[in-house]
Amino acid sequence: MINVLLIVHLLLAVVLLGGITHQAISAVWPSRNKIGIVRSYRAVTGSVYTNANIMLYLATATLGGIIYPVYRVGVRTFLENARLMAATGSFELKEQFVAVGLGLLPLYWLLWRRPPEAGGRTARLAVTLILCAIVWYGFLVGHILTNIRGLFGL
């Protein structure tokens, strides 16, 4: 059952990664025309991703919270016994970054709800980039730790 939840957690994270990255690119590097794949990628309407990204973030974090005890009892103990302190620390940081991201979600929703007013444009870019960085970090750390025994021949 935990393996199924872990795979669903991973799949949700993949969709979230795509959504938040697409939105971030459209905000940082917008394009008005859709000639070619790169410009088409940049020319999307970023606001349409907001609600989906929020739901995906909440769902992914909730699922992560459900499977977290298995990591805490089994995986972290293994990492500590193997003296893989950087791997343990990477997950500790992931845990804290995801929490900070949860607190950003109401503001993120507000900033994308309508065209930004004074001061809102910078905040929209910054909040989107912070959330994007958190999602990327969480995804990479989660992926590496899930496969750590195979990746490092342990």
């Binding site: 005890p69 500790e92 804290q96 929490a99 949860l102 607190g103 503001l107 007013e117 909040v127």
Partner: protein, 106 residues
């Protein structure tokens, strides 16, 4: 809606309270995963490692909601301080890297 003016304050307060919750273990409750037991506030390990993350999150959510509600009368009169909502969380992210540096520096 004027309630939206406190969203940056909520984001900033959540991040600040959360970093204090982690550092000083202000968990509203503790979960003992090996025995499946929940307890109020931060409790020491029983059989296996205790988990405080859920408690830290709830502490921060309650604390940030309280700060937001208290600041609402002031915030509704002025312009929205969007910068608070991203500068403070960004600083907190850096603070966490500093607090957890011992995992990476031997």
């Amino acid at each position: 809606m004027s309630i939206e003016k406190v969203f940056p304050i909520f984001a900033a307060a959540f991040a600040v309270i959360y970093v204090f919750a982690v550092q000083y273990n202000w968990a509203l409750f503790t979960y003992h995963p090996k025995i499946g037991e929940w307890e109020w506030l931060a409790q020491p390990a029983k059989n296996g490692p205790p988990m405080y993350w859920y408690g830290w999150l709830v502490t921060s959510a309650f604390g940030a909601t309280a700060v937001s509600l208290l600041s609402w009368p002031l915030a509704r009169r002025g312009s929205t301080q969007y910068w608070l909502g991203w500068v403070v969380p960004a600083v907190v992210v850096v603070v966490f890297v500093y607090l957890f540096r011992s995992f990476f520096i031997h």
